[in-house]
Point group: none
Chain length 332, copies 2
């Protein structure tokens, strides 16, 4: 299933990538709480020399570093640990503070905590292969401006060339109930306005906090937002209405707790709609890639050709073939 | 600066609200780089007693704590700092490591860093009012649908009633260079299309990875997206063009790395535009609240009254007075 997940949903959020690990063996060893090999390993990292930062997130306080330990390639992942409520008293008592700014009732400081209260989770992959390095490497994204003419002359031909590799046979398997049939939350068999609603593979379904479902439409010839016109309004309205109803019934989550949107560019060129929980920072829900279904419907009601004539902006990863085409066309 | 940052703008849906405060005092003091009042303030926090954790994020390594300093109510915001590439060598050399697990080529550790390489950004609000406590407390959000009629009958009267407390005197301080003048990245004095561009207080400016700037327009009577019409196109285009140019010059970041957008609802009702780095998961960049400036411009070019006639969706926190009005009007 992991493959399908990877296919289903890629890019946009660069962090998305960060979490994808090649293969992670299960833990078979737990020791060192009180020392053990500590000193040995202390030496190992103290000789680590950095070649480059593969990726990092200032928001999540995480960094992936490529370098060498002795003669071996290594990847080191550093991630600051969450602040723990049970250590607050000791933290406040035992820290040093340096005032940065004071203004009325507000003041800000740099706090230096006792090291044992402020650890950094450190993972070492050594020796690391080329594959590890590539996996952890951030792919930068670039915001692309696509006019309707760009779509016709650059994007559409690219999609069509890729059609073999992009054809989403797993989508058809779902629509035909050859796969994941047991997961379907709502099934509307109508060939015009019908769709299948099911949990996205990113969602473990253990809590609704990060609820994530996908509605896959039954019509097979709608590649993306760009293909939509007012004739698709009954389909879009049906997905919007019935999708929200089904989620209310199954998960007891009302429409006011949902973010319902399409991606452009999508991960695969068969029209689908994302339903995620409001307040959950779902990968790909950023304004640079997501389009609220309610806005899409309004736009098509006002202008039947809205998405055929519009200039659209979206991020593409550095290694995306479509980005290369935009560059070759002098559009970046 | 962190304090004010917390006020100006915080996270996407729920965290977002954590920061929003009606009134923002101007900075009047900057000191303590090498000590100064350090010891005095050290004592103040060492006597802090925690009443409760108002909210936290394990992903972002941030915590909002309510408690007492002496007899005063106080809110303390703790946020771990991003890992810095320029300190890696010292970090690897100077840290202590405790082995947690070793398995084949993978091993994981708890790393104890020299305190000065692993600081915690700490903001203190003291004395804090009931209002502060409420603001920082985690609140659920609800997606609200606002028709143009809802805006006129519910939102606009609400904004006007709040105008005294919502009036952003700190914005005027910036525009008049009474505060933060040294931080200004671009200043366009034109009364019609002019604006001031400066770093958002959430951004520590130490790395461009989480670049976050705000353009505050000089015109004082534009409350939000809802007030925009085609007459504002020269202003919007000027902010878009000059803002991107200034960021390229100062930070060497091209337009293809920027996400430029407005919020609706905004945190304060004086028109401003957000510039954040593409790929940085900036709080509030979700599709449910952010509107790409490029889309706003296109929409107004097509329909001069677009934002006056449109139904808009946005999240509101459970404790937001505006949400109560929507509920009272039977609109939720």
């Amino acid at each position: 299933m992991a493959t399908v997940a990877a296919k289903r949903e890629i890019s946009s959020a660069e962090n998305d990538e960060l979490s994808r690990e090649p293969k992670r063996p299960k833990a078979d060893d737990k020791n060192g709480e009180e020392g053990g090999n500590e000193s040995e390993w202390e030496n190992v990292l103290s000789t680590f020399t950095t070649s480059s930062v593969l990726s990092d997130s200032a928001r999540e306080k995480i960094m992936f570093v490529h370098g060498k330990i002795a003669d071996h390639d290594a990847v080191v992942v550093l991630e600051k640990t969450p602040i723990r409520e049970d250590s607050l008293a000791e933290l406040f008592r035992g820290s040093k503070l340096r005032l940065e700014l004071r203004n009325d009732i507000y003041s800000s400081y740099r706090l230096q905590a006792p090291p044992h209260l402020n650890e950094i989770k450190t993972t070492v992959v050594c020796p690391a292969t080329e594959k590890h390095v590539k996996k952890y490497k951030r792919q930068e994204s670039f915001l692309v401006e696509e006019t309707s003419e760009d779509y016709r002359s650059i994007t559409l031909p690219y999609i069509q060339e890729q059609s073999l590799s992009l054809q989403a046979s797993w989508v058809y398997n779902i629509l035909e109930k050859k796969a994941e049939a047991d997961k379907i939350v709502h099934d509307d068999a109508d060939p015009e306005v019908g769709f299948v609603l099911l949990p996205d593979l990113k969602w473990d379904q253990k809590q609704v906090d990060d609820l994530y479902l996908i509605a896959i439409v039954r019509q097979k010839d709608i590649k993306s937002l760009r293909d939509l016109s007012s004739e698709h309004l009954p389909l879009l309205q049906n997905v919007f209405l019935r999708g929200k109803e089904a989620i209310l019934q199954r998960y007891n989550l009302p429409a006011s707790k949902l973010r319902v949107y399409l991606h452009y560019q999508p991960s695969y060129y068969h029209l689908h709609v994302h339903f995620t929980k409001l307040g959950y920072d779902a990968p790909g829900c950023g304004v640079e890639r997501a389009h609220l279904l309610s806005d899409v419907i309004q736009n098509l009601q006002t202008d039947p050709q809205f998405y055929k004539s519009r200039t659209l902006h979206f991020p593409l990863r550095a290694d995306d073939g479509l980005l290369r085409r935009f560059k070759e066309a002098g559009r970046l």
